[in-house]
């Protein structure tokens, strides 16, 4: 529901203060499209990471709290729990009963949401800027403690069960490939389980599970708070201290080993989707480690290979061979190439016709890809990729009421302890050479490093509805 609301605004672009540009000056020339985001970063004594980024373009403010607990790390007998728990964060805290948090934000003219991702769970509000203190108080209140009941839990188990049905089970291509592929391509349970959750696991969750999860992960030393928009920095710092300063740090458990073993052989898998009318195929490669030179190279390879109608894959699969209408894909289907920490996939997927063999699609994909592996990429093509990437990045920063920027800043605070790196990203991509593109393509975009998943339309004998994809 909220997503629909967001979509209405999407496209958008909220403003950021560009220190390098006078607010009244119209830009022109190449230097005009560079951007410096103001970033103020510090930690409270209890470990809470705080990032402030001022922008007075519109009288709105975004408050985002990111907890470093994603769906990778959830109890092994409780798939989908991190996400179910996220719902519980809206069910009541010490000073706000069920529904009062949402009501508070809405009655103050704001919108809100939460989401569960690979490496974090986030909660955010966008409000008129005079309501910043109200939002900080409310987020601190639920960081301080939950007050939820069996009844609340039962209610949200019903809601989440319906969420999984509407997004996965009752929908053609539900879960394809965003939920399916990690389960086939990865081998470490933390990366390879059904993170939306088996319905029976969701139903099995108990109130003590909820309390224990909160106690373990929802603490200031496991969180980042980002404030973006129209506010006074000194005033904001005072409120942050006042409301979050007294919350106790916890003893965080050691992070389990999330690493994926190096893949040495191509993997192939099929699954039947009885609701789908046309076959689909997804191809996924393990990404280089985040923030390495090869990682930045993959960001540009994504632009060259998949993003936009000028991409090599679009030109080959759509324009030249007419196999499909579009090639979707990228790094991190549940976010972008910046807002994750652990092992990640670079993936593409298409829908095609039954008359076409899946091998034909894979072959066309390889044809599109081959030039990147065979020779150094053309300088003009690389330059175009950099422009696309920069434009995408600014587009990301501009999304919905400052949230896009808050998302990047909170991720960089949580994962890198360095939100100011938002201002050096472009230069990291600028360092990527044609030689590095070729080397990265050779090393990572090879069959030994990939999984090909075919979604079939014909129900096989024992086919069940597209619930949890069985592992092949």
């Amino acid at each position: 529901m909220f997503e629909r609301l967001l979509r209405k605004f999407s496209c958008l672009a909220m403003a950021l203060t560009a220190l390098s540009l006078g607010a009244d000056r119209t830009m022109a020339g190449a230097a005009g499209s560079e951007l410096k985001v103001p970033v103020e970063y510090y930690k409270l004594p209890n470990g809470l990471r705080v990032v402030l980024s001022q922008d007075h373009t519109a009288p709105t403010v975004c408050v985002a709290v990111y907890y470093r607990i994603g769906f990778r790390v959830e109890p092994k007998d409780r798939t989908g729990f991190a996400h179910l728990f996220e719902h519980m964060m809206f069910q009541g805290s010490q000073n706000l009963g069920k529904m009062e948090f949402i009501k508070l934000v809405q009655q103050n003219g704001g919108i809100l949401n939460g989401s569960t991702r690979f490496d974090f769970t986030n909660y955010f509000e966008i409000l008129p800027s005079n309501k910043l203190e109200t939002a900080l108080w409310a987020e601190a209140d639920r960081m301080n403690g939950l007050a939820v009941t069996e009844e609340n839990l039962k209610n949200q188990q019903g809601v989440v069960g319906n969420e999984v049905k509407v997004n996965v089970i009752n929908r053609p291509y539900g879960g394809f490939p965003w939920l399916d592929m990690p389960q086939y391509a990865n081998t470490n349970w933390y990366n390879a389980h059904n993170f939306y959750g088996d319905l029976k696991d969701i139903e099995a969750a108990t109130l003590p599970d909820v309390q224990s999860f909160f106690k373990t992960y929802y603490a200031p030393n496991n969180a980042a708070l980002a404030i973006v928009g129209d506010f006074d920095v000194m005033q904001a710092r005072q409120w942050v201290e006042k409301y979050f300063g007294g919350i106790k740090a916890s003893n965080l458990p050691a992070q389990p080993d999330l690493s994926e073993p190096k893949q040495t052989k191509e993997k192939n898998a099929n699954r039947v989707d009885p609701l789908a009318k046309r076959p689909g195929i997804a191809i996924a490669y393990h990404m280089p480690e985040r923030n390495t030179p090869e990682y930045y190279a993959m960001g540009l390879i994504d632009q060259i290979l998949i993003e936009g109608d000028d991409s090599l894959a679009y030109q080959e699969l759509v324009q030249k061979q007419g196999l499909t209408a579009a090639v979707q894909g990228g790094i991190n289907y549940l976010g972008n190439m910046f807002n994750y920490k652990g092992p990640m996939l670079f993936m593409a997927d298409v829908r095609y016709d039954p008359a076409t063999k899946p091998e034909t699609i894979v072959k066309a994909w390889d044809t599109a890809l081959e030039p990147l592996r065979a020779k150094e990429v053309d300088k003009a093509l690389l330059e175009r990729a950099r422009v696309k990437l920069r434009s995408d990045l600014y587009g990301n920063m501009g999304s919905v009421g400052g949230f896009g920027l808050a998302d990047l800043l909170a991720s960089f605070a949580l994962f890198d302890d360095n939100p100011a790196r938002i201002n050096s990203l472009v230069s990291e991509f600028d360092k990527v050479t044609p030689e590095l593109i070729q080397k990265t393509a050779q090393e990572y975009l090879k069959p030994e490093n990939r999984t090909v998943l075919v979604l079939e339309t014909k129900p096989a004998d024992a086919a069940k509805p597209a619930e949890a994809p069985a592992k092949n």
Binding site: M1, F2, E3, L6, F9, C11, L12, A13, A15, T26, A30, G32, T57, A58, P59, T60, H83, H87, G92, G97, K98, M99, K103, Q107, N108, G109, L112, N113, G114, S115, S129, N130, L132, E133, T134, T149, K154, N155, V159, V160, N162, E163, K165, V166, N167, N170, P172, Y173, R278, D309, D310, A325, Q328, Y333, R384, V387, S391, D392, Y394, G398
Partner: protein
């Protein structure tokens, strides 16, 4: 795609609840800080003018991000299709991207990408648009590219077979989505043979489309008189204006916009589509309401937000937060040119299909009978007032707002007085809007689900 799924959750609020953590009941709760006084907000200023050939231009300098969005909005769409050619307008949009008289599709794609953008053509019922979102440096160049695509399409014969294959595939994929199935039924019941009654093309209409049909549609429906270019973001005003004048100034006026407002009456129909084995029932329940130009449109919008159109709304809090029947309930006022309907949509647990309908109608009836408390209404008014700021605080959102006002002919005053009108709505108005326009006994009720399991549950809601 990227945004799908795990997002959203959340939820709801509601006025009437008495629940609570009993362990905390005795404890004194803190009240939230109220915040400071609101800052004044004015919709960012824009400059609008009409070129000698009748094309309109609206320029909105906005924000600090080095980006600019250009959207050429055309008053044409599925409304203009011949009755036996549904989907023709979509095919026109697709073939437009396949080259101009001077550029191949690949050149167009590469040129847009080189500015940091992509060229997107969207075709709707009443309007279509050619849009790109580029780095600020390229505002003028992007205007020239849009002008070329809109005015000089090549419509190459060679690409049509591929696009038809794509369209057939897309049709088959779309029609299997339960929400789409429900929408198709609902529109057919409400609009019958009016173009708004047709959501999808047919295999036949796709197959028989020729380049001649496409060119004929283009000639009959494109031109300066039907076009409005919106530019929002950071850009060099003088340079962009100059580029617009040079690249669009020579466009022929073309035909004037056609208006074809349907005469719609409520249709109290229960339409159950069998989807054997469906894991949920997809509901779409609604009826025609006054359109955007009515003086009741804003009070009705407030009523909708309170009833089902926001997180804190009554229907959402009932069937989601109290009952857990559904994840994604929502009501909205769906608008076309001087036409609108109210509808509630939800995908609900199969065994509670009838119960969900019961609760939806009970909430409507209750609101029709009893005006909401002042505090509840005030909350919704504050919500809509805050939302209005967000809806006018980004490039894309600003274009959407200005485009809506222009398309519906609401006048410049609309945005200036919107918040004031929202806040003038009284509790009695809300009840009146509900009883007058949102009537359970006149609703079209579309259900897509497992007939064997739901037929009996929904039967009581059919026509009596």
């Amino acid at each position: 795609m990227m945004n799908t799924v795990l997002t959203e959750k959340i939820a709801i609020a509601v006025a009437t609840f008495a629940l609570c953590a009993s362990s905390l009941a005795a404890q004194q709760k803190q009240a939230p800080p109220a915040g400071g006084p609101p800052k004044p907000f004015n919709v960012p200023a824009h400059e609008s003018y009409t070129m000698p050939n009748g094309m309109k231009v609206t320029l909105v300098p906005y924000g600090n991000l080095p980006k600019v969005t250009l959207s050429l909005v055309l008053r044409t769409g599925n409304l203009n299709e011949p009755a036996d050619m549904p989907g023709l307008a979509d095919m026109v949009g697709k073939l437009m991207k396949e080259g101009t008289t001077s550029k191949s599709s690949q050149q167009i794609a590469e040129e847009a990408a080189g500015m940091g953008g992509a060229l997107n053509i969207t075709v709707g019922a009443d309007e279509s648009d050619v849009t790109t979102d580029v780095l600020s440096d390229f505002g003028a160049k992007a205007a020239v590219l849009l002008a070329d695509v809109a005015q000089h399409p090549l419509f190459p014969e060679s690409e049509l077979p591929r696009l038809k294959t794509d369209a057939e595939r897309q049709l088959s994929i779309s029609k299997a989505v339960p929400q789409n199935m429900a929408l198709e039924k609902f529109r057919k019941v409400l609009y019958g043979n009016h173009p708004y009654g047709t959501v999808f093309p047919t295999e036949e209409s796709i197959r028989k489309t020729t380049v001649a049909d496409i060119k004929k549609f283009y000639d009959g429906n494109f031109g300066a008189l039907r076009s409005h270019l919106f530019v929002a973001g950071r850009f060099d005003m003088a340079e962009v204006k100059k580029a617009i004048a040079a690249s669009f100034g020579g466009w022929a006026k073309g035909p004037a916009a056609i208006s074809n407002v349907p005469r719609v009456k409520p249709q109290h129909v229960l339409d159950l589509t069998d989807r054997p084995g469906a894991a949920q029932s997809t509901l779409l329940v609604g009826m025609p309401v006054p359109d955007a130009t009515s003086s009741d449109a804003i009070p009705l919008g407030v009523t909708n937000a309170l009833l089902g159109g926001s997180f804190g709304s009554r229907i959402t809090s009932n069937i989601r937060e109290q009952k857990g029947y559904t994840y994604s309930p929502s009501s909205q006022i769906s608008r076309r040119y001087h036409d609108a309907y109210w509808a509630e949509t939800a995908d609900v647990t199969t065994q509670y299909t009838g119960a969900s309908l019961k609760e939806i109608f009970a909430e409507i009836e209750k609101l029709a009978k009893e005006p909401p408390a002042d505090a509840e209404l005030k909350g919704i008014q504050s919500y809509l007032s805050g939302l209005f700021v967000i809806q006018n605080s980004s490039r894309g959102a600003l274009i959407n707002q200005l485009r809506f006002v222009d398309f519906q002919g609401l006048g410049e005053d609309y945005l200036r007085t919107y918040v004031q009108k929202v806040n003038a709505v009284t509790p009695a108005d809300v009840s009146k809007m509900t009883s007058q326009y949102i009537k359970p006994d006149q609703m079209t009720i579309v259900v897509v689900g497992d007939k064997a399991k739901v037929a009996e549950q929904v039967a009581p809601y059919g026509a009596k």
